[in-house]
């Protein structure tokens, strides 16, 4: 039997991946919660009186985030009003079930819940998108739509910021992916604990940025928190899957690799001549975007025109597709007479 490193006399129940320490259940809870509190205070994620929306998917990360944020808010008197914001992508058999979990969080934690659906925002459910686009590019649609849906939901709820459940493993994985893709703009942004896209936009914060996935799952297990755990039923992102398994393999040999990669991401110096996107407001929908019209509007136009591949390739290719379709329409009108 291994005893708790904190000399409390209790039996250790877990080996922390971050430090290698063996801790008992109570000391683990304390360490886990204190570290998140420290992340929140050091990063100045909130200010007293803020209304905070938690991007709640019903999965392990956002379930633990909702639980811990409520607890810390009471313990340390953050004076936050916390609400849950969920996006219903309209994926039968997947989102239906996870939304039940979010509703349980709402009842257990006594928080207001707003569910926004792709159907009401865009007129398209993911089931319908997949029926026209197939299962190869649907994650592009889902990702672009979700990002904007959270912004829209945050605006409707009139919150001061949106907290998401991204954990240390997720961020290390994203750093790695952005390096592999050469995406310096996203690389620069992905390690930020607080992102403001511009003055008007509602900031996003990541209170679990330095929290390991293993500890989140262990915390949920020992606290008996109920969460939903099924992969999206549509094609998983194979590239991200490889990056994830690569990291997990490395972590087995050297657990600090997660923190090390995040640290590398934070410390990389960018040349000033790297093109930074100028964030602006989409003239079509009025939400923040780095291009005109925004990606969500382009994808949506493609779906509505019956050219679902429109927003997926290069912009020039999309413009040719629209020009071609407009030309065909003119011909059709002419021939009708």
């Amino acid at each position: 039997m291994v005893l708790c490193k904190a000399n409390c006399g209790n039996k250790a129940i877990l080996k922390r991946p971050k430090t290698g320490d063996a801790l008992c259940k109570e000391c683990f809870f304390t360490a886990f919660e204190c570290e998140i509190h420290e992340t929140i205070t050091k990063g100045q994620l909130f200010k007293s009186g803020d209304k905070v929306a938690i991007g709640a998917s019903g999965g392990k990360d956002s379930t633990v985030l909702a639980y811990v944020l409520k607890l810390l808010n009471e313990r340390y008197k953050y004076n936050l009003k916390i609400v849950l914001l969920s996006i219903d992508e309209g994926i039968t058999g997947y989102r239906d079930d996870s939304l039940e979990t979010v509703k349980k969080n709402r009842d257990d934690y006594g928080m207001e819940l707003k569910i926004l659906s792709y159907e009401e925002l865009y007129g398209w459910t993911m089931d319908k998108v997949v029926s026209v686009i197939g299962k190869t590019n649907n994650c592009t649609f889902c990702g672009v739509f979700r990002r904007q849906a959270l912004d829209r939901g945050a605006k409707m709820l009139e919150v001061d910021c949106v907290a998401t459940g991204h954990n240390a493993d997720d961020i290390a994985e994203t750093v790695l992916m952005n390096i592999l893709r050469g995406d310096m703009v996203r690389l620069r942004r992905c390690t930020k604990i607080k992102t403001h896209s511009n003055e008007d936009a509602i900031p996003r914060v990541k209170p679990l940025k330095y929290t390991y996935e293993k500890e989140i799952v262990m915390y949920a297990h020992f606290k008996k928190l109920v969460y939903f755990s099924t992969e999206c039923i549509f094609a998983p992102n194979a590239y991200r899957g490889h990056a994830r398994m690569f990291l997990k393999d490395l972590e087995k040999i050297r657990p600090s690799v997660i923190m090390d990669i995040i640290h590398s991401g934070e410390q990389i110096q960018f040349k000033e001549n790297i093109k930074k996107p100028v964030l602006d407001i989409c003239q079509t929908c009025g939400f923040v975007s780095s291009c005109q019209p925004c990606k969500a509007c382009v994808l949506l136009e493609g779906l509505n025109r019956g050219l679902p591949k429109l927003g997926i390739g290069k912009k020039s290719k999309g413009e040719r597709m629209i020009a071609q379709q407009n030309l065909e329409r003119i011909h059709r009108v002419k021939n009708d007479f």
Binding site: A12, L14, S57, N167, K248
Partner: protein
């Protein structure tokens, strides 16, 4: 030898979606987690092997607990299974 087995975090989908099982293992031989994983592979696993195992070990990202204690504190594959042990497999790889 009677033991209890349970799955969580989505690992159950690899085992016919059954979350809890009671098992009786042949008491005439010594069981370690290493030999038990082989037993699971041959008798209980219903989905692709590579989603659960990597070599003779569980795939990284699947947590193992023995009587609610992290197997990393108990010798991992070499842990010798005792009567009435409760062994849990929890996936961290599903959903987020």
């Amino acid at each position: 030898m009677e033991i209890k087995l349970d799955f969580g975090g989505g690992a159950e989908v690899l085992f016919d979606n059954i979350k809890k099982r009671d098992l009786t293992l042949d008491s005439s031989k010594k069981w370690t987690i290493r030999t038990f994983l082989q037993y699971m592979k041959e008798n209980l696993l219903t989905d692709r092997e590579e989603l659960f195992l990597q070599g003779e070990c569980v795939r990284p990202g699947i947590l193992v607990l023995i009587n609610d204690t992290d197997w990393e504190l108990l010798g991992e594959l070499d842990y010798e299974i005792q009567p009435n042990d409760n062994i849990s497999f929890i996936s961290t790889l599903h959903g987020g």
